[in-house]
Subunit: 397 residues, 2 copies
């Protein structure tokens, strides 16, 4: 199967920029601090209404109508409701399985956060803190979450697979991205001792997780692991016969390509996609089925200014106050680089767009011009996303 899917980001794992109103009246920048700044009753009310409205049955109908076959659902470590003050969300995932099966979609469950943080970013649940891997109890807790997920959904028709852990920050990335500068911690004491995760640790963790998941989940369902932003570091990993249906997940964003020197022109993006995204995936596809589990059309060129690697008003970067590109220019940029990226993912085993939906208001709030391209719904409706790209090759032939 070639995966052609989309992430249901910000549904069960929050990112402030994707639904700012949930954070109204607080200074919280992440999901960890939100319940600590609201009364229990108000926190519950906000979370429950959000979960009941953000993603619903109708969204599964929409995704199916786009010809897609799968969704990747980020879930938090507190999904089972055993980590106060957070509220569990296993009921929502149960419902999603019923919708997926009714409308013919598969689900990749993606464990997206870990207690004390696995990457120090907002989407890891707590800004500036990356200490999970240093705490054996929490490492074990994370394994029990995976096991419980596997046990619960193991034979469901709607289950495509389980992803062990989203974007663990390896040492190289922890330094290169300057995670604590980009996502400053609120509590310095809590953040102290944060550091990148070693290859040795994550390899052992992935192997342990594989065993714990496979105890329950049959071998026809996939176990997915994230490359930690080092796509080519896994050639000697899990190559033994006993590992069945293991998928390598890589996340490739043009804003990160820009940080690595990609020129902010259509030609620059095409060159980078061809020489890095496509080439590396093609290479690694010899070892694992490779999916691009997160990517999007977003890029600085279409924003009309250099976003310095996708920084926003939330990071103190101002953003454009008026559109500087015409509709036609945006259409050309997005369709061209969209086709090229799809062609790259097609060298592997498919993709999940990030993300299905965001509530970010580019009209009534300033600084967000260009950020609508993170929203697949808007990309499809604007005609930017080449839904039927198939073999319209841009860069290879």
């Amino acid at each position: 199967m070639k995966v052609k899917g989309v992430n249901l980001g910000n549904w069960l794992v929050l990112e402030k920029w994707m639904s700012p109103a949930l954070f109204d009246g607080t200074t919280a920048e992440d999901e960890y601090w939100l319940p600590r700044q609201l009364s229990k009753a108000v926190y519950e009310a906000r979370i429950n209404v959000h979960r009941s409205e953000y993603i619903t049955e109708r969204d599964f109908v929409t995704i199916k109508s786009w010809g897609m076959n799968a969704v990747r659902i980020p879930v938090p470590y507190f999904i089972f409701g055993d980590r106060e003050p957070f509220i569990g969300c296993i009921r929502e995932l149960d419902q999603a399985f019923n919708w997926a099966e009714k409308y013919g979609l598969k689900i990749l469950i993606d464990l997206h956060t870990a207690p004390e943080g696995q990457n120090g970013s907002d989407n890891g649940g707590i800004c500036g803190v990356c200490k999970w891997a240093q705490n054996p109890d929490e490492v074990e807790f994370e394994l029990t979450v995976l096991e419980r997920l596997a046990e619960r959904y193991k034979t469901r028709e709607g289950l495509w697979g389980i992803e062990i852990l989203n974007e663990p920050a390896l040492e190289s990335i922890w330094e290169m991205f300057g995670m604590q500068q980009r996502y400053p911690p609120v509590d310095l004491k809590m953040a102290k001792g944060s550091k990148g995760i070693s290859h040795k640790f994550i390899r052992q963790f992935y192997k342990d997780a594989y065993e714990r998941i496979r105890k329950h989940m049959p071998e026809d369902k996939y176990v997915v692991f994230h490359d930690g932003f080092e796509l080519k570091a896994w050639k000697d990993f899990m190559q033994e016969d006993k590992y069945k249906n293991v998928v390598l997940d890589t996340h490739q964003y043009l804003m990160m390509a820009e940080m690595a020197g990609c020129k902010q022109t259509i030609e620059g993006y095409l060159k980078y996609i061809k020489e890095h995204f496509l080439k590396d995936i093609e290479e690694m596809q010899q070892y694992f089925p490779v999916i691009c589990g997160e990517w999007c059309l977003f890029n600085s060129l279409a924003c009309g200014f250099d976003t310095k690697g996708g920084q926003t008003v939330l990071n103190g970067l101002e953003g454009a106050s008026v559109e500087t590109l015409t509709s036609e220019q945006k259409m050309e940029i997005y369709k061209t680089i969209g086709r090229a990226q799809l062609e790259a993912w097609n060298k592997g085993s498919g993709y999940f767009y990030w993300s299905y939906k965001l509530l970010t208001d580019t009209v009534n709030t300033s600084g967000w011009i260009g950020w609508d391209s993170w929203d697949l719904g808007r990309c499809v409706d604007f005609g930017w996303f080449p839904l039927n790209y198939e073999n319209e090759s841009i860069i290879i032939h």
Copy 2:
């Protein structure tokens, strides 16, 4: 202009069946009782998250992508925030104007509720109570709301018009529908004295409202009045030259046709649409531009059982527990009656579908099979709604 639009129902005026989670943990059946069963903080949290998530910029992009040109936005009498314990929502309407103007849509502001009720239904804000017309202070209050809306948006490019009052229940309808049986009042004392509204009253109110709105709003914007479910009763109304750009709004639902004896077969629906919807609109179009401001594809045939005029589990009617029709059968029913209805509205000046979106879960909650056809998003995505029907005539040629 032919209006081709959709209602943003349940955004600023709530209907429990369209977003049941907002009412969780209460016995409230309508917007009036909801804040009276929740703490102020929890009520605010639920309403604010709902308003920020239910309709957003991306929905305007979607509606535009369907080739539509307008939205009808139901607003409550407390929109300006001067009726405790309700929370105003003028900020949301302001934002909607910015979205509409950015994406090229027009807005019909529809004053959908009145204090003490103008029809006794849940969507009028309070079940079983219809006393507004008997209270001169509240009649005057309603006029001030219209005036403030006209004053605020009068010259906005995005303004199509203002509808004076949604679905006032005339005496005939009050009796025929048995509104208090269908929507039982909670407080019998409060409901006492409820009755249908006289023609005399509503005619005078409409004329007064016209003057108050026109004081501010230029004559190129429309003033819309609802027919009170008596489409042909308005031939001698506002025919004087001084009334400019007055539009007659009629709401035509097949579930109501069923109550009036329409057979629950495709042929039955087509016959009824031709002999009533189309014929009556064609006749009244001689007097006013006529829009069908609410309608949908919903019908008992596609549900697989007689809904007794669109009653649900909320009215104590059980509903189907499994699908009895195939996808192909549903497609045929919906596409056929959809085209016929569009042809009828096309004899007038266009339509607004009811509604853009509902959160009703037909998979995880029982009794709602068939109700997804009220959701234009799902109808488009399922391929039921004949978006490009144009001149594919079913019933005339």
